[in-house]
C-alpha cells in the first residue's frame, strides 16, 4: 500500500497541468455571488423562527386578549409569562448572534463544526422554550375559560349532572395533555426533518473527528 500511495502522490502532483484554469475575470465575478452554504441556510431558518414565535406572542397578547385574561382571572400569570418570554427572547437573540459570529472558516474543521452545531443548539433550545411557554399559556387559558368563562357555569353544572366534577377535570386535563403531546410530536418531527436534511453530513463528519479523540 505504501508504494501505491507514493505512486498516487507522484501522479497527483503531476496532475496540475490538466486542471481547469479560471481567468482573473472569472474569479472576480465569483466573489460577488451569493453563498449557498448550510450556515447561510441555518441563519435564514433561525431568523424565520425568531420572527414566527415573536409574532405568535404578539397575536395572542393584544389589548383585547388582556381584557379577556382579566375576566378569566389569569391576568397576573399571563403577564408574568409574557415578561419572562420577552426577557428570554432577548437573551436567545444575543446568544444566537454571538455564537453565529464565532463561526470562522479559518478554524480547524473540528472547531468549525462544533461552533455550527452550537448555533443550531441555541435555536433548538429557543424553540423548546417557546413550546413550554405555549403550553403554559394554553393550560392557563383553558383553565381560566372553564373556571371563569361565560359558559363555565353551564359546563360545570353539566359535569356535575353527568357524574362528578373530578372525572370532568381529569378528562379535561387528559385532553389538554394529548393535544400538547401531538403538538410536541409535530414540532419535533418538523425539526428532525429540517435539520436532519441540513446538518446530516456535518454531524456525521463531526462525529468521525470526535470519535478519534476518545
Amino acid at each position: 500500500m505504501m508504494d501505491e500511495l507514493e505512486l498516487l502522490k507522484k501522479d497527483w502532483q503531476k496532475k496540475e497541468e490538466h486542471l481547469p484554469k479560471l481567468s482573473y475575470e472569472d474569479i472576480y465575478k465569483m466573489i460577488w455571488k451569493k453563498s449557498s452554504s448550510i450556515v447561510k441556510w441555518m441563519f435564514y431558518i433561525s431568523i424565520i423562527e425568531f420572527v414566527f414565535w415573536a409574532t405568535i406572542n404578539l397575536v395572542f397578547t393584544d389589548a383585547e386578549s388582556w381584557e379577556l385574561f382579566r375576566t378569566l382571572h389569569v391576568y397576573e400569570i399571563t403577564l408574568t409569562v409574557t415578561l419572562i418570554n420577552y426577557a428570554v427572547l432577548l437573551y436567545f437573540i444575543f446568544k444566537f448572534y454571538s455564537n453565529y459570529r464565532k463561526i470562522s472558516f479559518t478554524d480547524s474543521s473540528k472547531k468549525l463544526m462544533k461552533t455550527i452545531l452550537s448555533v443550531k443548539r441555541t435555536v433548538t433550545q429557543y424553540v423548546w422554550f417557546n413550546i413550554a411557554i405555549f403550553t403554559v399559556s394554553l393550560v392557563t387559558g383553558l383553565y381560566g375559560s372553564v373556571r371563569y368563562g361565560p359558559d363555565s357555569k353551564k359546563i360545570l353544572d353539566a359535569a356535575e349532572h353527568a357524574g362528578n366534577q373530578t372525572i370532568f377535570w381529569i378528562l379535561t386535563i387528559g385532553a389538554t395533555l394529548v393535544m400538547v403531546m401531538i403538538l410536541l410530536l409535530l414540532v419535533w418531527l418538523f425539526y428532525k426533518l429540517l435539520y436532519g436534511i441540513l446538518l446530516k453530513r456535518l454531524k456525521k463528519n463531526y462525529e468521525e473527528l470526535r470519535q478519534l479523540e476518545i
Partner: protein
Amino acid sequence: MNKKLEHQFVTELENNQNIVHKVCTLYTNDRDSHQDLFQEITIQLWKAYPKFRGESKFSTWMYRVALNTAITLYRKSKRTIQTQDYESVVFKIKADTYDETEEQQLKLLYGAVKQLGDIEKALIFLYLEDKNYTEIAETLGITEVNARVKMNRIKNKLRTILNP
C-alpha cells in the same frame, strides 16, 4: 472592501487556484458540482480574506478554508451523472495506455480514493499535497497521533477496496 484588496485577493487566488480545483475534483463527481463548490470556496475565501494577515502562506491558509467548505459547509447536490466520463477527463486517464500496469493501478487507486468518506478524503488530500502530520492534525483539529492512526486506517480501507 477596497479595490486594492479585491485585486490582491483575486490575483492570489488566480495563482493558487489549483489547490481549490484539486479539492473540488476530490469532492464532486461532475462538472456542475465542481463549479458550484469552486464558487462556494471562493466566496468563503473572500469573506475570510480580510482576517488573513499573512501569518501563514496564502496557500496554507487556502487549504483550510477550502477543505472546511468542502466537508462542512457544502451541501452535495444529488447530481451524479457522467461520473466515469468526468473522472477520465479530470484525471486524464489515457485509453491507449490503459493496459500499462502503472496506469491501471492509478485508475484503481483514484477510484478507491473517491469511495472514501469526507474526512478520509481530507486526510488523503493533505497527504497527497505533501503536508506533514502536524499540518494535517492542525487543519482538521485533531492530535498528531490520531492523524497518524486515522491515516493508517485509511490505508487499510483503501487496501480492502482495492482487493475485495
